[in-house]
Symmetry: C2
Subunit: 406 residues, 2 copies
């Protein structure tokens, strides 16, 4: 049995006409001898509509009940999709998260997939050409419905592909795959045909919006190659394949450049440079569930040092309250908050084996007259914090410097 | 544990404001020491909207997938209702058909409840003040979602009450209970405080729209008294109690009068009066799933007789095709179809012990100048077919003749 797992997002199934278009694509694959698992999101803006309804009642609705509410969105899509396929004469069945045995933990609205009952999916695939599966949802050991949070439908698809041990997983979206950087910033940005899981992970965590980190992590964990393709493109070269790193990949030093303007920088000043201080600071932030991204601390001169970190702007209110508590707890003299920053990152597995990448980066930024505020590096990524207004300029300068348009 | 089962229809929960109103009513009962199972329908016209979406794809959508689609309507309502109760500080949980263990047969879109896992409902009631249950739905032994068809949410409520062995079941609707006849026809129609299951069943099958027969049958089977009340009335005397017949009920000869204009009359002419003919006629109609209501055959004079029956006007196209085949099969000379009829029925358990009810009925219709076309009787009901234009006049005449306004 040749099985393909495909996932289509909300804008691809926003109307019954669009559903028919996708169903025709699926039918072609069936006629070519494949069995398909088609993972679908809620139609268009359905999820936003349901959230608005709940917010008419309260700004902080119960998470367990929100999952009960939101999970209906995908169920509507899969039912309509199965109706369409059957009307076209195909054998199809829709299944929701609990029916597909997608077991998760109990973290409502951001649940993690624990296991998938692949025997159940296989049983349906033996009987039908197409199994239409709700994305974004599962159920926990109590039998409660759970949802997987942002990018959850992609994750459902990759996890289903891994469970069924298919050759690859296809994620259909409204862009032509992954580019060297955002083409709205650099029109010369080039399409990337193949990229490694690690590179894609670094790009995702650095601001690229094509895929969420969790789905890529899942692909990496199960070595499940992921195709990201444009739903409505007929170009056979359309799409990017995200896969395990291979030796040819190292020839490219910088694969892509990402820009992230969603973070703010917080600096604790004159922090005592004693063991346990950093642990205390980031322990208190973790307790409040604040997602810290970059952390920079310089060596101290007089036993005091400045400690800087970045955190999401949308959590800034809670960040400031917590930082005030932290400053008090560690006897820091004061703290600064700067939301007017941008993070620019260059990513590539080739960095590991090529020297001088950082130097080239800093030089080209200097030439462009851009001041660097913070620097942070990983094995395959270099990120710098610059002024918010310099973000796009930095991306353009680096895209040219590393000849990504060639 | 004092448990009450309440059911609210779609118009009672059409907006989040209305949901809040109902939630306040429920909270009062909780504060009075009760635990509640609240059964809800889909909000307002949600179900119609989902049906329209499916009909954009095909006029005859797959029934299994329609149940997957339609069941989302109630799930949205119960989630929003539970969110509201929790926001008010109550302990509440929503459960859908599969979660509540409402097992049905596999007749999609008109499934019958086979069993309810009352242990599961009891477990949730022990932990919460209110269990908010989706009406209208269950699941079959394959794990597929099923829906119960028209009046399904009432049925869910009565069945849940029976499973939990509560004292009674409360069905909230937009009318003040059951009346001696439709107050829009006879303004003097009087509210009926108590009625027997059998009387209510006859009224329902004779055109009264307050409740569907299936829910009343379920109440009768498990001897579960059913209150029908107006959601938005504060009158403590509002509502009708449907319960087992008791001796006081027989003192009333006619409990209510129903009018049904949804049937057509079909007459097969010069049918050979031989054994097996009727069996053949109604066998062929049953094969086509045509719901025959009244059947009248007169004794024959010359070995030939006329055979009349009534069937729903909305199935008339299929009825006519089938009747043509029947006429050929039994060598009837011809057949008549008359959609311009009305069925008027008087119902009352007192008829069993009171003579002359039929005579009074026919007399008062004659006085009103109304011609009777067909007559059919049961132990507690007399139905007549009259011309469509005479329906309301007949109801008025009979309402006065049996002094139901007194």
């Amino acid at each position: 049995m040749k099985i393909i797992v495909q996932k289509y997002g909300g804008s691809s199934v926003a109307t019954t006409d669009k559903i028919r278009t996708i169903a025709n694509k699926v039918a072609k694959k069936v006629n070519a001898g494949y069995k398909l698992v088609v993972v679908l999101s809620a139609m268009g803006k359905t999820t936003d509509g349901l959230i608005s309804l709940a917010e008419e009642i309260t700004k902080s609705p119960d998470a367990r009940e929100m999952d009960m509410l939101l999970s209906t969105g995908e169920q509507v899509t899969v039912a309509l999709f199965a109706i369409t396929l059957k009307e076209m004469g195909l054998s199809a069945i829709s299944v929701n998260g609990p029916q597909a045995g997608i077991m998760t933990d109990s973290a409502h609205r951001k649940a993690k997939i624990v296991s998938i009952d692949e025997a159940r999916l296989m049983r349906e695939l033996e009987k039908h050409d197409v199994v239409v599966l709700t994305g974004f949802q599962g159920f926990n050991e109590r039998g409660d419905i759970t949802t997987l949070g942002r990018g959850g439908s992609d994750l459902s698809a990759v996890a289903a592909a891994a469970a069924l041990k298919t050759e690859h997983c296809e994620i259909y979206t409204d862009v032509d795959g992954v580019f060297t950087t955002d083409p709205r910033i650099v029109p010369e940005a080039k399409h990337i045909p193949v990229i490694s899981f690690d590179e894609m992970l670094e790009l995702a965590s650095s601001g690229s919006k094509v895929m969420q980190s969790r789905s890529i992590e899942c692909g990496k964990k199960y070595n499940m190659p992921i195709w990201v393709k444009n739903t409505f493109s007929d170009d056979p070269n359309n799409g990017t394949l995200i896969k395990e790193e291979d030796s040819t990949m190292e020839q490219v030093t910088v694969r892509g450049i990402a820009l992230d303007k969603k973070e703010a920088k917080i600096t604790l000043k004159s922090v005592k440079d004693t063991p346990g201080t950093a642990a205390k600071v980031f322990g208190m932030l973790a307790e409040k569930n604040i997602n810290v991204d970059m952390i920079v601390q310089n060596s101290s001169s007089n036993g005091n040092t400045d400690l800087s970190f970045t955190a999401p702007k949308e959590e800034l209110a809670s960040v400031m309250v917590t930082t005030k508590e932290i400053a008090k707890a560690i006897n820091a003299t004061e703290f600064d908050v700067n939301p007017a920053i941008a993070k620019v990152s260059i990513v590539g597995v080739g960095m590991k084996s090529h020297a001088g990448i950082a130097a080239t980066m800093f030089e080209s930024l200097a030439k462009a007259g851009i001041n660097i505020d913070m620097i942070s590096t990983s094995e395959i990524k270099i990120s710098v914090i610059v002024h918010e207004n310099d973000g796009e300029k930095a991306v353009k300068a680096l895209h040219a410097a590393f000849e990504l348009d060639k």
